[in-house]
């Protein structure tokens, strides 16, 4: 039996969906994108072109929910289906698009440069707990205008795992697609074995901005998976109640699925989000608040009830250093996500809301993720009888360390932590330098980076990726891309 966690009764789910559908008709959804408005109008939705508002009837939404796939895979660069969107699969990737990196020496945030993100990608490759990469950090050493595609370019050079990404502009999406197709071996190959998924964010309340709507349509048309990141901020841009925020989330996601499926029936799209229970004192969007976790858990249940693959931003912290708050918030969110059965949980490494990435937090989070995955693997009898024969054999002897049963099962039953987690005796811990979690994490980062194995990507392909990126960067006045760090 798999442990899970249920927040909503069936009746409450039905009511949330009914109210979400109600919102799509009245007041409708603001759609600041001409192509989407045309698609909706052509499908029979009443559209007010001047006000850019679409009123989306239930039949359209229901049809879209039917045609949207309930599951699909992302592939690694060796062509293996390693990430499963659908059912109760639970997988993890780092939080995306941090503006800064937490400097390992000073423990201060600073703008990241090429080297920082490359090290981050390498770390993610070496951490088995992480199932996918993400374009986690923006590099400040290239023009802002190509910040989104440059991250993807860098990651592609060092990764094998699939990647969660996103575009910040309409035009850069095309370059990103070109990079992905180059790596996948062509347009059809990318469709057959997608290696990336694009985050697309509706704007609360009930708005599709031109940019992200276009990104979603372009993804759909090319059958590149997209992931809705709807973010009701409860009490600021959404009702303050958890259930109310989920109603808004439901409406925004249903509008997204509808536009996506009108652009291309059957295009893969994920029911996801990054909501927050708005902090009423600081005016911030806490990711470590229990209210935030409740919204995530609840909308995941709604998505599953509608047969959609799911995603959530969880496992982050609002702390500014890797301290106790950092650990408790990251662990809480990660465990909730795992128990809720979120297909892709984005957030590892991320702190200070969604602003900063940290290598040290990433390796600590990997331990948390390992524990969460173990937790949902649940309790397995392993043998039948479970222990009767074994215990009768041993009688009253405490000799289990010497038993084949122990050898057979210990590494399945237990999560064997890395040196990040301290379980030494007090003296043993002192002998090893009495290191804090932060220091142990730093050691682990260095150790993992030293063990990173370069990918087998050919020099030709690397050159091709560079040429594509270089060309895009030149449009914004960058002469030469920063050199790629050694693999």
């Amino acid at each position: 039996m798999r442990p899970c966690f249920k927040l909503l009764s069936d009746a409450l789910i039905d009511q949330i969906i009914a109210e979400g559908l109600g919102l799509l008709m009245d007041p409708g959804v603001r759609v600041h994108n001409a192509e989407a408005l045309e698609l909706l109008a052509a499908a029979g939705a009443p559209v007010d072109l001047d006000a850019q508002i679409a009123h989306i009837p239930e039949e359209l939404v229901r049809r879209a929910l039917e045609t949207a796939p309930s599951e699909f895979h992302l592939y690694d660069l060796d062509g293996e289906p390693v990430v499963h969107y659908g059912g109760d699969s639970v997988q993890f990737d780092p939080g995306s698009a941090a503006i800064t990196i937490l400097d390992s020496k000073t423990q201060q945030q600073r703008p990241a440069v090429t080297n920082d993100f490359v090290d981050f990608v390498k770390l993610v490759e070496t951490l088995p707990q992480l199932d996918a990469q993400s374009t986690a950090i923006i590099c400040s050493d290239v023009p802002e205008e190509v910040g989104d595609l440059y991250r993807l370019y860098l990651a592609l050079n060092y990764m094998r795992k699939p990647i969660v990404t996103g575009a910040f502009r309409k035009d850069t999406w095309w370059t990103m697609k070109e990079l992905l197709e180059t790596v996948a071996g062509g347009q059809q190959e990318l469709v057959a074995r997608p290696i990336a998924i694009f985050d697309v964010c509706p704007s609360p309340p009930l708005l599709w901005s031109d940019l992200t709507c276009q990104n979603m349509i372009d993804c759909a048309r090319h059958r590149i998976p997209s992931e809705l990141v709807s973010m009701p901020l409860a009490g600021a841009t959404a009702p303050v109640t958890v259930a109310g925020a989920v109603v808004q989330h439901t409406a925004e996601c249903m509008s997204g699925v509808t536009i996506c499926q009108l652009a291309q029936e059957g295009a893969p799209i994920v029911w996801g989000g990054s909501p927050a229970a708005f902090d009423m004192r600081e005016g911030t969007t806490p990711m470590g608040a229990v209210g935030t976790w409740l919204i995530d858990g609840a909308y995941t249940e709604v998505g599953k009830a509608l047969g959609m693959p799911t995603h959530a931003y969880l496992g982050m912290t609002d702390a500014k250093v890797v301290d106790a708050q950092c650990g408790l918030e990251s662990a809480g969110g990660t465990l909730i996500a795992a128990l809720a059965g979120v297909n892709m949980v984005s957030g590892a490494g991320m702190m200070d809301f969604e602003s900063c990435q940290s290598y040290e937090k990433l390796v600590i989070d990997a331990e948390i993720i390992g524990m969460a995955k173990r937790l949902i693997a649940g309790v397995d009898p392993r043998e039948d009888p479970i222990a009767l024969t074994l215990m009768r054999e041993l009688g009253h002897r405490a000799d289990y360390l010497a038993q084949p049963h122990t050898l057979r099962w210990f590494s399945h039953e237990q999560v064997l932590p890395s040196s990040v987690i301290d379980r030494k005796s007090l003296d043993g811990w002192k002998r090893q330098g009495a290191k804090t979690a932060w220091e142990r994490a730093g050691d682990r980062v260095r150790e993992l980076l030293a063990g990173y194995q370069p990918t087998s990507m050919s020099d030709d392909m690397r050159a091709e990726l560079r040429a594509i990126t270089q060309q895009a960067a030149q449009r914004f006045g960058l002469g030469e891309l920063p050199p790629l760090p050694e693999a």
Binding site: G147, F168, T237
Partner: protein, 214 residues
């Protein structure tokens, strides 16, 4: 009776009761109190108390925002009377604020706008995704003292520079102070593009503006 009306207006604001604040303001006018007296002895002490309670951690943003709105509604009642008397409230300054072109992040900018108007600034909020020229026009139209530019994306920070250029090219850069804010913005960035200052949060934005205009 008029003696109790003024403290009642204060109390209505502190209780975040917009309907009463407006009704009491109307009563106060009808009872012959001067609009400036109503403002200085009724409304301003109220909003100040709300601000103090917020600073003390006793009040939260909903109280702050609702009290600020209540104050605006009460001011709207008094505005025609002030005009009729050719009087003006001493404003801390005229502010034009918005989120720059290409950027639709709204919440931080709106919080800053609310705090500024609660602190006595006359605020013109242009919303989000605001083209440079719209800032320029509004500054001209309102004779603004200060422009606030919010940007939440590394890709749209550059638009802050464009607004500064546009103000420069229109020859009105010298007439206004320009402050910046938003998650990726840093004091160094503000310096490097020639803005007058940077604020980390809404309270900081108010303090900075008061310092710049004081």
């Amino acid at each position: 009776m008029s003696n109790t009306l003024l403290p009642e207006i204060t109390d209505a604001l502190v209780a975040c009761d917009a309907a009463s604040a407006v009704a009491l303001t109307q009563q106060a006018l009808a009872s012959g109190l001067e609009p400036l007296t109503i403002i200085k002895q009724g409304l301003v002490p109220g909003i100040e108390q709300v601000g103090e309670r917020f600073q003390a951690g006793e009040y939260f943003l909903p109280q702050m925002v609702i009290a600020a709105k209540a104050m605006q509604q009460a001011m709207a009642v008094l505005e025609p009377e002030l005009q009729a008397r050719q009087q003006r409230v001493d404003s801390a300054g005229v502010v034009v604020i918005g989120t720059v072109k290409g950027d639709i992040h709204e919440i931080g900018k709106s919080l800053v706008a609310t705090m500024m108007s609660a602190s006595g600034f006359q605020v013109h909020d242009l919303g989000v995704d605001v083209p440079s020229q719209v800032f320029v026009h509004k500054v001209r139209e309102t004779n603004a003292d200060l422009v606030g530019l919010s940007a939440l994306l590394t890709t749209t920070m550059t638009a802050q520079r464009e607004v500064l250029r546009a103000l420069e090219e229109s020859g009105i850069r010298d007439r206004v102070r320009v402050i910046l804010g938003g998650a990726p913005v840093t004091p160094e960035w503000a310096d490097s593009i020639g803005a007058d200052g940077y604020a980390d949060d809404a309270v900081g934005a108010v303090q900075l503006s008061k310092r710049l205009l004081g």
